[in-house]
Amino acid sequence: MPIHDQGYRRYSGARILRARSWFVIARAGIIERLRERRFLALLLVAWLLFVVRAVQIYFGTTFVRASFFAPSEETFHGFLTQQRLFVFFITIYAGAGLIASDRQANALQLYLSKPITRHDYIVGKLATLAAFLIAVTWVPAMMLLMLQVLFSGSLEFVSTHPRLVPAITITAALQVALASMMMLALSSLSRSRRFAAMLYALVTIFAGTIERVLQTATGAAGWVLVSPQNTLLVITDALFGIEPEIPVTLALIAIMTLMAVCVAVLERRVRAVDVVT
């Protein structure tokens, strides 16, 4: 008689009928990325500007002689605009392999043979990248605002600038959504994370360069629509009360169109079975 049954044993524990699969995917992606020291270092560097701005706000609100440091709407606009650099690097680092690596390892058929939908998968991957991007845009910007309240000891600044919270939130949301969706769509086009990273860098950097060349040559402000990042800046300017170069509706339509293209690409590329006819 065997002292231990080494045969297949059935599972009698609990099952979640409709698992929050996107959350499981996002959590696993975030944990995996946070295990990398280089990525943690990048996240820390992305917060350096926050420290600088926090010191600025401290002196500006605490010492009368340093009142020229006092925060304004421009402080937050400038902060979010400067954080675009880190959004770029984090998007490439954490986003390039999100789907490309899964395609390389044939993981899509594993994912989609489980009780999850393609949308769960895409949302889970988007949430992975979005979580990091929110951590370097919206979170530090809102913390700067909270520091201003703490250092000044009143809510006067917030009440005299009622559009600040929505402006920060919408700007960060658009930055995060655009970067995440573009990166994810490009990542789905390849089996190589390096190639996906190069594509994203090309779209981001070269589009900006082309835009500047065309604008210089023709003098027309409309060329800003060539660059997704600068188009987003038009919307950011409008949100913070700065007169934009082109009508903000046009910029909004361009960004929404680009996001729709990204969704269409993801819809087409994220499949368990590649059907070549």
Partner: protein, 311 residues
């Protein structure tokens, strides 16, 4: 669930009715109607017969152009997620979640199937020991050998304890010892849950399954219990002849006797039940062919396969 019980009480885990799957203009499955009974069923067929397509369609990954598929009593078109929660799938090619060690990978698959995190981790350890990867469970999957990758694919398919296991070429690339161990695992699993084993390796199917469905060019060539398909319809003889072999084979076909080449100059002939083997000698004599070797043989799944395919 009532439907499930009634259908499963009929002894079928999977039922297909007139299922057609197309890739563009190519029909990978053509009006397939077949039922897979409980227990282990082999899905046989040459490359391109439609085996993998059938499995992917059962998982809801491919949508049939027409027909109805029921898995564990549920319609695949209506409840693919509910079906996938109770089905384990081991794909044919290498597949893993990149950047994870084996235990994290298997636990992750468990969580995706709805197991609570702690249970998924416990179950992952258990399943990895079961498939023989207990000692290597903290290694990154990317460093695994081909045989180990096959085992981990089985582990991720088992972690949520499915009611039906779909195995696509599970012994691909394994050495003989590993292959035997994999087949032993499949036999053990099939004692507790239903298994559909897709393979073109006939001995694998013969050793692990009681039933077989043979696909050929997208249609069901034959299906049923292996013992019945092998046993009662014909007796098998090995024959070596000298003379016009092609003419002899044609003459045998004319009198209702099938044959196929095995290896070299030995052919296997199937004499229908109730007819004497003497008829082979009569046909040979009529066509001036000498019978140099004649031996009664044991019917094998290979014979069933060859006859189904009309080889």
């Amino acid at each position: 669930m009532n439907t499930e019980r009634s259908e499963r009480s009929n002894g079928s885990t999977v039922v297909l009715e007139n299922v057609t799957v197309r890739y563009g203009s190519h029909q990978a499955l053509r009006r397939v109607s077949v039922a897979f009974p409980e227990g282990a069923t082999g899905l046989l067929g040459p490359n391109g017969a439609g085996k993998s397509t059938l499995i992917k369609a059962l998982l809801g990954l491919l949508r049939p152009a027409e027909g109805v598929m029921r898995v564990l009593g549920r319609d695949v078109a209506e409840a693919p997620l509910a079906i996938r929660a109770h089905v384990g799938y081991m794909p044919e090619n290498d597949a893993h979640i990149p950047g994870m060690n084996a235990v994290s990978f298997v636990a992750y698959c468990g969580e995706l199937c709805g197991l609570p995190p702690a249970d998924a981790m416990q179950r992952a350890h258990e399943v990895l020991f079961y498939v023989g990867l207990g000692e290597a469970r903290y290694r990154n999957v990317e460093t695994y050998s081909t045989g180990m990758k096959q085992r981990i694919k089985l582990a991720q398919a088992l972690v949520h304890d499915p009611d039906l296991l779909l195995l696509d070429e599970p012994t691909n690339g394994m050495d003989p010892k590993g292959r035997d161990e994999m087949l032993a695992l499949i036999r053990d699993i099939a004692d507790r849950i239903s298994v559909i084993l897709s393979s073109h390796v006939l001995p694998d199917v013969e050793s692990a399954c009681e039933h077989v469905v043979v696909l050929h060019k997208g249609v069901v060539a034959t299906h049923g219990p292996i013992a019945a398909l092998k046993g009662d319809s014909a007796r098998v003889f090995e024959l070596r002849v000298k003379g016009d072999e092609k003419r002899f084979i044609e003459a045998l076909r004319e009198v209702g006797i099938e044959s196929h080449d095995e290896s070299g100059d030995v052919m296997r002939v199937f004499v229908p039940a109730g007819r004497p083997a003497q008829v082979l000698f009569e046909v040979a004599a009529r066509h001036g062919v000498q019978v140099r070797h004649f031996r009664a043989s044991v019917p094998s799944l290979e014979d069933v396969f060859a006859r189904a395919l009309g080889d």
